[in-house]
């Protein structure tokens, strides 16, 4: 029932007695950070009206209300010389491994989602959300090409004043490599392992969409809903996010430099080659 800490000399995380992430200590900073899974109901629209189509393959159009999927997770902890892992089980269709390698200064989240239940007749769009006390003042940073980091401001646009009717979808942006928020004291970045959509819908928060199962077509040409039953029961997705936390300026390497190195190593990883060596002795191979 006591909080649990895993980590190394660079970074430590604490898991609360609900089995959920509660804080991160890294680069001399300790910040309360929670991470939970949520879903949006996919909007059901009138496909005859252009401005009111259903959420589908072409349109990410969730309803504005967000639902928490699980308040608790059961956990198993594995500690060893290479990595500490916490295996979380949220429900029948969401599990996750949080891991900290012994020589790394980031946290890895490997999630597995699906098949998304649709027994209630509602399409769902699943997001992971990191909440912190960072006073980001509506500002967040995304990249859209793996290089340039673009400043975004919630509910705003650079060159006109929008009146956003879809507060969620209207603030989502493409992520190729990462999304970040910061204040004067702390910067928090989440790197993705594939192109995804993400946003910061409240101060201190980062959310990333990771899986969808929809029951209506959006009338943009596919003429099928994104409701996959290719394996008989809906799709399971598995992927990774990497969290880096530290001061926004200073430090050697700086937090941004750490993010950049990590991005290089995750998006341009080492190539692994496997060879069967059943016919070889070690000395022959050597």
């Amino acid at each position: 029932n006591d909080p649990i800490t895993i980590g190394n000399k660079y970074i430590n995380i604490t898991i609360d007695n609900n089995g959920l992430l509660s804080s991160v200590s890294s680069n001399g900073i300790t910040t309360p950070v929670s991470q939970k899974f949520f879903y949006y109901d996919a909007a059901i629209g009138n496909n005859m009206a252009f401005v009111n189509r259903s959420s589908g393959a072409y349109i990410f159009r969730p309803n504005n209300t967000i639902h928490l999927i699980a308040e608790k997770a059961s956990i198993h902890i594995f500690r060893g010389p290479a990595v500490d892992e916490i295996h979380q089980i949220f429900n029948d269709w969401i599990s996750q491994v949080i891991r900290v390698y012994k020589n790394e200064n980031h946290i890895e989240f490997e999630w597995m989602i699906g098949p998304i239940p649709i027994d209630d007749g509602v399409g769902k769009e699943i997001v992971t959300r990191f909440d912190s006390d960072i006073k980001s003042n509506g500002v967040f940073f995304t990249d859209s090409n793996g290089r340039e980091e673009i400043r975004r401001k919630r509910n705003e646009r650079d060159t006109w004043t929008p009146n956003l009717l879809e507060k969620v979808a209207g603030n989502y942006y493409p992520l190729t490599a990462k999304i970040a928020i910061e204040d004067q004291k702390t910067r928090m970045a989440v790197l993705v392992d594939r192109a995804q959509g993400g946003s910061s819908l409240k101060d201190g928060s980062i959310e990333i969409m990771i899986h969808r199962r929809l029951l209506h077509d959006d009338a943009f040409g596919v003429e099928e809903a994104l409701n996959e039953t290719a394996f008989g029961s809906g799709l399971i997705v598995r992927g990774q996010h990497y969290l880096v936390l530290g001061p926004p300026t200073g430090g050697i390497p700086s937090t941004k430099a750490q993010e950049r190195f990590l991005q290089m190593e995750k998006l341009l990883p080492n190539w692994l080659f496997f060879s069967n060596a059943d016919q070889w002795s070690y000395s022959e191979w050597r």
Binding site: F78, G80, V83, N91, D92, P115, H211, L272, A277, Y282
Partner: protein, 200 residues
């Protein structure tokens, strides 16, 4: 060059937004996966040639007394489903090697995760020194839906340290006498012995 161009063209096709998670029908995803697999297979020939050239060159350089032609062709294979803990060679071999090639211009430290069966494994580096390793279970869905074609229950984790820029390191992994896995981490202690003399 033609192999690389094929890969470039495939990557170009995958810039389309339908190749992005959550926006495409699964049949489209399968087609993209198929195209990528063909492109990888084409480039695998290049990478094998490159690695064989490097390895053969190194072997010749290391063995001054070696006066024959280096005729052993290593069968370097990609495992493209490592992201879902699936690799035919590591799961079904008593012994196998993992070669880590670093395509970046700075040296890297990477924790390698290899899907394996429920057994004990020893990881040896090129200096005849055991590399510290750890077994962890492969995460599986609670609903027990089979989402991968693999019997691997565990992953073997070890650090490939200081892989040189545009260079490689190799590791020899062998299955050991079976001990029950209790998932208290299996630790292979690093030897206190100095590394065997290797001419670099």
């Amino acid at each position: 060059e033609s192999h690389l161009t094929f890969m470039r063209e495939t990557m170009g096709i995958l810039q389309h937004h339908d190749a992005i998670t959550g926006t495409e029908k699964q049949k489209v995803a399968f087609d993209y996966a198929k195209q990528l697999a063909v492109a990888f297979r084409a480039c695998e020939i290049n990478s094998r040639l490159i690695l064989n050239t490097i390895v053969s060159g190194n072997v010749k350089a290391l063995s001054k007394s070696y006066d024959g032609e280096w005729d052993h062709q290593f069968e370097f294979k990609n495992c493209l489903n490592l992201n879902i803990s699936q690799c035919d060679i590591s799961e079904n071999s008593q012994q196998f090697t993992v070669t880590v090639y670093n395509p970046l211009s700075h040296s890297t430290f990477q924790y390698v995760r290899v899907p394996v069966m429920d057994a004990d494994y020893q990881v040896m580096d090129y200096r005849n020194i055991p590399t510290e390793s750890q077994m962890v279970p492969v995460p599986s869905p609670i609903n027990h839906i089979k989402y991968r074609s693999s019997n691997a229950t565990n992953e073997l984790v070890f650090l490939a340290a200081e892989v040189p820029p545009l260079g490689y390191k190799s590791y020899f992994i062998s299955k050991q006498a079976r001990f029950p896995t209790k998932f208290t981490p299996v630790v292979h202690m690093v030897s206190d012995q100095p590394p065997a003399s290797v001419e670099e």
